[in-house]
Symmetry: C2
Subunit: 212 residues, 2 copies
């Protein structure tokens, strides 16, 4: 197909497609004449991945370049490629002080990882984010909230299982990476909304004296 058709199919404007080619995110089309190129399904799939990373994941063009390089590097495991695509998506906390609260939280995270048998490094961005949030709870005088951690971890494990059941049906690496990025970002929003709905329901059951 020509660049105009590629643009129509993916919803990405022609100048943006050209920019991605110049920036090395998208391979150039096959030249059919000195100023005309042909694009194929590979380009279409790659463009969808790029848009998911930028629009949904909020990644920078430089970060996208790293992800597509990882996708194209046949020597990297799928696990490594997924890490490259999703590590930048871990919500960053304003880093708190390196105090006792943080030290205690890090120990708690290590204990949780051991309990769950999770293969996750203590320095992984997600483990660091968890420790920072636990430390913030402690500093706000709500350290006792960490008692829910085991239940939360069980729920998160169940969610991750559903996530991978879903994405496991993807055959192409690019489709897999795209699905994981979209599912990671929008899945957090789904989960937060559902948690709020379940809370509203429980609050109504427990505390609504006015209901019939």
């Amino acid at each position: 197909m020509r660049i105009g058709e590629l643009s129509r199919r993916t919803g990405v404007p022609v100048p943006t497609v050209k920019y991605y080619v110049r920036e090395g995110l998208l391979p150039a089309g096959e030249l059919t004449s000195p100023n005309q190129a042909r694009y194929g399904e590979l380009h279409e799939r790659r463009l969808r991945l790029i848009r998911a990373l930028i629009d949904v994941g909020g990644l920078s063009v430089a970060a996208v370049r790293d992800v597509v390089a990882a996708v194209d590097d046949g020597s990297r495991s799928v696990h490594k490629v997924l890490g490259e695509a999703t590590d930048p998506l871990v919500p960053r906390h304003p880093e708190g002080p390196d105090d006792e609260a943080l030290a205690g939280a890090r120990e708690r995270v290590a204990a949780l990882v051991a309990e769950q048998g999770w293969r996750v490094d203590a320095e992984h961005p997600s483990a660091v984010a968890l420790a920072e949030t636990l430390a913030a709870l402690e500093r706000a005088g709500h350290g006792a909230f960490a008692e829910v951690l085991g239940e939360y971890a069980a729920a998160a494990d169940r969610v991750a299982e559903a996530d991978f059941d879903h994405v496991g049906r993807r055959v192409e690496l690019e489709d897999l990476v795209e699905s994981v990025v979209v599912g990671t970002v929008l899945g957090d929003a789904l989960l937060a909304a559902l948690r709020r709905m379940a809370q509203v329901h429980r609050s109504s059951r427990l505390y609504d004296d006015t209901r019939d």
Copy 2:
């Protein structure tokens, strides 16, 4: 106690305490002389609630005024007070178009609420946020991700149960509201980090060819 002691105990600077009194968030202290007032435990508890709503929940001073008015209004059910405090905490999505994707998403949310037996209005901010997120998935070509919805809802329900088991130990209404606000906001961050950790673990098990 004097205002200086109240400030030390809560970490809220004296001018900020005075500002909250002027704005009607905090009751004035009991005058012991023309320019000295005495504050009690009630003020300390109220100040902690105000700081949790502003620092953790990100509420405006006007929204905090509504919450404390609801706390002080003995005629309102605890359910209504919790709604007043937490409805503004539902993450807002950039509103999408009112298209077929949104109509389908709203139907899906209504069906889910019925299945779960949740007492949640279709116009509640959390139900609207869920529909908007499902519509965004559909528009991004990932509508199939909604298949995970049942598993997500079950996990969210489990988390909400843990949340209310935790806050149910609070006796004072202000402590309850404070706990719910802190737990709602930081709980989302905990859950997102744990989901990421569980995903890393599953990715490693499924896709890491390099592990021993």
